[in-house]
Amino acid sequence: MSAEPDGPEDRLRRLTAIWSRAVFPVTSTSLTRTEFEDQLLPLTRRLSDLLRTRGFDSDAAKAVGAALVGAHCTDPEALTRTLDCIDAYLVLYCGEDGSQDELRMRSSRLQHAMAAGYAQALRERTLAEQEAIAQAALQAQGVVAQALHASEARFRAVFEGAAIGVGIADLDGNVLQVNGALLRMFGLSESAVRGRRVQDWVHPEDAPQTWRLYDELVRGDREHYHVEKAFNRPDGTVLWTNLTVSLLRDADGTPQYQLALMEDTTERRLLNLRLRYEATHDALTGLPNRTLFFERLEKALNAGEGQRFGLCYLDLDGFKTINDSLGHAAGDRLLVEVADRLQSCATAPGEMVARLGGDEFVALTTGPGTARKVDELAERIMSALVTPISIDGRDLLVRGSLGIVEGPAGERTAAEVLRSADITMYRAKSAGGNRSELADPEADARTITRHGLTTALPTALERGEFFIEYQPLVHLGDGSVRGAEALVRWLHPQHGVLGPDRFIPLAEHTGLIVPLGRWVLQESIRQARAWRECHGEETAAGPLRINVNLSPCQLSHPGLVQDTVEILERAGVTPDALCLEVTESALIGADDDLLKPLRRLAEMGVDIALDDFGTGYSNLANLRRLPVSILKLDRSFTQGMQQFPADPVDLKIVEGIVSLAHSLDLAVTVEGVETGAQAEQLRILGCDTAQGWYYARPGPPERLHELVLVDATG
């Protein structure tokens, strides 16, 4: 819009420019000065009109003042500058040609009204803005409060609904708040828990560090700790928990509360204990089992210098027979009763009884004085077995063999100790059972091979580690060789040549005696044929005969007769070349079933010799019904004849036996002949054949050949 120079419009603009320039620096508008000036221009125009209008419109003048506030001239300095400007220039620029006095007066009134309008508008704006900001603050606080409320409600829901127990206490231990899960776990009402102190919950099973950790936490030296802790419930049961306690601090970091989170682990713990119990106890007897026993034994062996241990290893004698004859149920009941009795033997601290399996039990004693204590323990065990055990109305006499090991900790492993005990126990058993033996390193060394030999036996037979030596049987009448006893030997790769006493009991025990015995029979028969081939069917005194030992196990083996017949036939050897030796003890109390195979063999022409005669309680009357043709007199009878003059009692006994034998039509063979005097004496007493070192030690088959030749040429 263009304005005529110095015309009214131009003057208005010039006045506005002056006003704007004065006020702009004290406004806070974001408009440019030109824009601001454009905002002021209508105000200047209205002031100009008001100046020249008849009458005085004070409201219109007030509105101009208020408009200044609307243009964000809220600094009162803007009013001052405005009024200065109006006062100085309004009449000058807009007065035109009116009365100066009246114009000045009107200008003054305009300024008063503008000031009033400005003040009122500013007051209203200030109040409105104060109200707005207060409202905003209130509203924001409301939002916060609502959010806090929601937050608290959620936390409360989490707290109450949690499956784990949650509790809060102050640092003096006063319980402030607990959740439902915790109350259920403790079996308490809320009122019963509130007001309790954390320290009241001391439990005998608390781990040693539990309360030290607690003290550190409430002192502020620890942020949290985790323990397994037990609590007593009012019903007398025990609650086990996984407990985590945390320290809660305020915004400034000062410790304020303790927060406990607990998980009920009672059932899990019971299950663990049960699993642990089952893993370490024997289901039948409830005694600790091998696992637990080894744990304890190892602990005892690692107990440190100066500590000792004592161990009893018990194996029942003849348990297998009871199991076989009365059945496993009865056997089990017997074991339970034995276990109970053993348990009552080991009640002192440091003593324990365990079942290793089968009928094998161990008792362990530790602590001071084990050397004495283990002997007493062994005695108690042996006497605990004295009273018969009643099973199904029968009184069973139970006996056991006991091996005792006592020694310092730290020298041997558990396995070594147990093996020593086992060996010692076997020694007791070999000595007839129903006794205890004390471990002795030399005896151990002798028997170390018992286990090894047992396991090596089967392969030894396959590998041909056995061989046979022959000891001649000499006719006392003419001194001619009549045959030989086959004696099996084991050429063990590590232990050298082992005699039958070392391995025949093991072979009996494992059943290997049957194939081993068959092999010995085969070999011996083969050898017998070889001799016959060499020396013809007849030597000077008839055919050479081979004596082969038969163990009790072979005796009851159903294949005995058939095996023997087959071997003889295959070798083409007549039965009269074979004599089977059976021990007296194997035949004691033998019934007809057991004697039947022997009888059949005897009928076929095989001679049967009763070995070791005189060592058992022979029922002499019984001799009649046994299918034997030879008595082999035990060497104990001949020992008394080694010196000169011979023991007269021995002479009488042997004479009596010989006479008895001959009256029953039995030949008599004597063993252990070592001197010529002995031989002569026995010949006089009427013995038929003899064997012993006086004639020859056991040796290879060639030796016999040589002896026979000596006979023939002699």
Partner: protein
Amino acid sequence: MERPAWAPRSIDISVPSVSRIYDYYLGGSHNFEVDRQAARKAMEFMPGLPKIMQANRAFMRRAVRFAAGEGITQFLDIGSGIPTFGSVHEVAQAVVPGARVVYVDHDPVAVAHSQAVLTGNEHADVIAADLCKPQEILASPLLEGLIDLNRPVALLLVAILHFVEDADDPYGAVAELSKALAPGSMLILTHASYEGIPLPAERAEGAVDVYKDIRNPLIMRSREAIARFFEGYDMVEPGLVQMPHWRPDSAPEDEDPYAFSGFAGVGRTA
């Protein structure tokens, strides 16, 4: 225990607020005595503080008009504070009726006030969020309802970045926001600096200390450090300059000397 994200921090109006202090500098009455005390104290050191705020407002007004003139119709103003007069929506909607404006502030009172002011304006709204958590801003359903991030947006960070300490990674926050913007978007930014203040630095530090005392430290950055916020943007002429020099409507020499404190600039993404 950390405060969950959905629970706002508590409100304590006995603690001065930078938005209300700003309002006081601009002659407003949306403030409490605590705010005014702090403002007066700062002004003892720098009497021209209101002029700096005024220059900020004037720059923002020119920049918004520029952006609208360049075809931008969506505005995201973070750190908007208390809308008094000449706010972004007023300026933008005056040029482009229906321009979309989203304000963001972390001061709950400022947010509540903004909500009151914006009642009935269907094209503008406010989000309570923090510049330092850009994902909270970008993921806001309210933002999604008003702003289409596939189209250019003018992002305003006017007089806010100097309240973010380096430890809170302001550069990372700006980069993350920028990454979310469509090509052709603009960054409108002002930042406080010791450069350009018509006072010895020791005096200016007095004012800075006031902000430290009210636990809203003012981080004065160099021009170079401020320029780094524009990484990935092409600077709109005349670049990063003192506020009165940015596309002035009137002669800069007429401006108050305090108006030259700090820097302002506009960048545009390719």
